[in-house]
């Protein structure tokens, strides 16, 4: 087990360093000058603009040599300082993100977990029931073949506009202010449902297909045949097949985390949901260096954290990893 965790931690550490480097590198070499953009909003004469430009370049540390900027970036990062947003000046990036983060957690955690559970359930059921298989499999394939935003658009159009039963934009009604009240909670729930549903359905499709195929594969394995030959009841054979099929599905859950980022982003765009996805897009459109970096960093940290939790779950569930019997599970 120490070897297993050491390997995993090495990969996570490398990923984090690489991600932070990319994070620093890419916005830095983006065409366009964010300070000039910011100054363009307040029209001043050219001389004054030059002075202000130099001043802000100095304040943001953009006049230093690149290697210093890189080291400073790491230094501040480790102190939890992500800089100040340019477009929501002068709010610190961490504050801007902290406002968006609860919506993401509210949306993503239930969508990922529920689609994973439901997908595994239905996938396993479909593997042993021909009738159900003929219903679940095509539907599951359909959901995975759909572009995220199209599913979201269809849901918004049909449930939101044609039937008019659910709101399709924002996280709560425009007439309300965030408060701990029943009315606000209800509005929050109503606005949450459609984005949740679209993410849930796409995730469900992928997981159900994966589970179905794994169970079929496991039921053909030697141990399943041996149990059958011994005259073990079907239920017992299936129980073992399910247990074995769960392991790759847990790895699949980790991989789904990276994929769900893209899904969450477009879903938030379709439903104007104020999560990190919408924030990142707004930051890119306004060339807000620090906010882009902050959003990207939070996405990375979220994915790494999710992966780590999955790894721990894997060790708990698969005794082989604990005894160092398996070479490389993932």
């Amino acid at each position: 087990m120490p070897r297993y965790f050491a390997r995993k931690l090495l990969i996570y550490a490398l990923t984090f360093v690489l991600a932070v480097t990319i994070d620093w590198l890419i916005p830095r070499f983006m065409p366009g000058d964010p300070i000039a953009n910011m100054l363009a909003r307040v029209s001043v004469n050219t001389n004054a603009a030059q002075v202000m430009h130099d001043y802000y370049a100095h304040v943001f540390g953009l006049d230093l040599p690149l290697w210093r900027q890189y080291l400073n970036f790491w230094g501040r990062l480790l102190q939890g300082d992500l800089g100040i947003s340019l477009y929501l000046f002068p709010t610190p990036v961490t504050q801007v993100i902290a406002r968006a983060l609860p919506y993401d957690i509210l949306l993503l955690v239930p969508a990922i977990l529920l689609s994973w559970f439901a997908g595994n359930r239905f996938g396993a059921l479909a593997a042993r029931n021909r009738w159900l298989d003929n219903v679940v499999s095509p539907v599951a394939y359909l959901f995975t073949a759909m572009p995220y935003m199209w599913l979201a658009i269809l849901l918004a159009w049909y449930l939101g506009l044609v039937l008019g039963i659910l709101p399709i934009a924002g996280a709560y009604a425009f007439s309300l202010h965030p408060a701990w009240s029943a009315a606000f909670g209800l509005s929050l729930l109503q606005h949450w449902f459609l984005p949740f549903l679209s993410l849930f359905l796409v995730g469900f499709g992928g997981q159900a297909i994966g589970m179905r195929n794994l169970i079929i594969y496991e039921l053909e394995a030697d141990y399943a045949r041996y149990l059958e030959a011994l005259g073990a009841p079907q239920r017992l054979v299936r129980k073992h097949a399910f247990g074995n099929a769960m392991l790759p599905q847990i790895t699949g859950l980790a991989l789904a985390l990276g994929v769900v980022v893209a899904g969450a982003l477009v879903t938030e765009v379709v439903f104007s949901y104020p999560g990190i996805g919408s924030l990142l897009l707004a930051a890119i459109q306004r060339q807000d260096y620090f906010l882009i970096q902050g959003c990207f960093l939070f996405i990375i940290i979220g994915v790494l954290l999710g992966n780590f939790i999955v790894d721990i779950a894997y060790v708990v569930l698969d005794p082989r990893t604990r005894r160092g019997m398996t070479g490389e599970p993932a």
């Binding site: 090495l10 990969i11 996570y12 490398l14 990923t15 690489l18 991600a19 990319i22 890419i26 916005p27 070499f29 983006m30 065409p31 366009g32 394939y141 359909l142 995975t144 073949a145 759909m146 572009p147 995220y148 935003m149 199209w150 658009i153 269809l154 918004a156 159009w157 939101g160 506009l161 044609v162 399709i168 053909e220 991989l255 985390l257 990276g258 994929v259 980022v261 893209a262 982003l265 477009v266 765009v269 379709v270 990142l280 897009l281 890119i284 459109q285 882009i292 990207f296 996405i299 990375i300 994915v303 790494l304 992966n307 490389e328 993932a330």
Partner: protein
């Protein structure tokens, strides 16, 4: 390991497989529309043609018009072309990189394998979409080819991992040992002994990457980071949502692009399931 099927026998079982036939027919249908469709329209894709704005499909405008009075059919067929291009080049490139890394790691083993494995895992963990997003935003003018490049460079890890595992299991087979003993060079062994024996696997990987690239491109286009100088299906959906196709009820504007992508990618998946049946005699007997 999937045994390779000689050509004639393969064609026989392939033709008998309903899933493969259905999937292939659907993909070829859309390919036909993509290739021939643009020849049937003489409207420029972005010209403001219909003074009445958004109108339902009619004899003049086959798929209706956008709220600017642009012809949806023209945009649709051109976007379809872009989708196939992205699938072919983006998916193809991802498959090639995956093959390169997978073969190298699987055949060489040892330190090369360790290093490539760490690299693959790192790229697998990084949410590549977020990287793509920032990289795409970095360029103000983007072409379809550039989008293919972006997708190809980020989509390869799982292909590499799968191909590595397959190569690993083939590497110790007798016929590979024989080739090695006869003094064949590693590169030649990989391409003449190992690759042909997992051809079915490579084909299926490419098909999945093809579909994945189309979906990825649609997502990028939808958030406005697609090609700046071309039509695409994702872009159509973006403008539809931005300019109120939903409240207008202009279903003819946002249904066709998404439907086409779903149909193409779905058909590719169905084809893959069919191919699996053809390549795996065991699965064939079961169904």
């Amino acid at each position: 390991m999937t045994p390779s099927v000689p050509g004639r026998e393969f064609l026989y079982f392939a033709w008998r497989n309903g899933k493969l036939r259905f999937g292939l027919a659907l993909v070829l249908f859309f390919l036909g529309v993509a290739l021939l469709g643009p020849l049937l329209t003489h409207y420029p894709p972005l010209a403001y043609l219909n003074p009445l704005g958004a109108e339902a499909p009619s004899a003049t405008y086959w798929l209706g018009t956008t709220c600017f009075g642009q012809d949806v059919y023209t945009q649709f067929v051109l976007g379809l072309r872009a989708a196939f291009l992205v699938g072919l080049l983006g998916g193809g490139m991802a498959t090639l990189i995956g093959m390169l890394i997978g073969f190298m790691a699987g055949y060489r083993g040892g330190l090369v394998d360790e290093v490539l494995n760490v690299l693959t895992n790192v790229v697998l963990v990084i949410p590549t979409f977020a990287v793509l997003l920032i990289a795409a935003a970095y360029l103000q003018v983007r072409s379809v080819l550039m989008e293919c490049l972006f997708i190809g460079l980020t989509a390869w890890p799982w292909a590499a991992r799968a191909i590595r595992a397959q190569t690993f299991s083939l590497r110790t087979r007798d016929f590979v040992d024989l080739a090695r003993l006869s003094g064949m060079r590693p590169l030649k062994i990989v391409f003449t002994e190992i690759a042909p024996n997992m051809l079915s696997y490579l084909v299926m990987t490419f098909i999945l990457q093809f579909g994945g690239a189309i979906l990825m491109a649609a997502t990028l286009d939808f958030i406005g980071l697609g090609p700046t100088n071309a039509q695409s299906l994702g872009l159509m959906m973006q403008t539809a949502v931005l300019w109120g196709a939903l409240p207008l009820g202009a279903w003819w504007w946002f249904i066709p692009p998404g439907l086409a992508i779903t149909a193409i990618v779905g058909a590719l998946y169905v084809m893959n399931v069919g191919l699996d049946d053809v390549f795996n005699p065991r699965l064939r007997e079961r169904s």
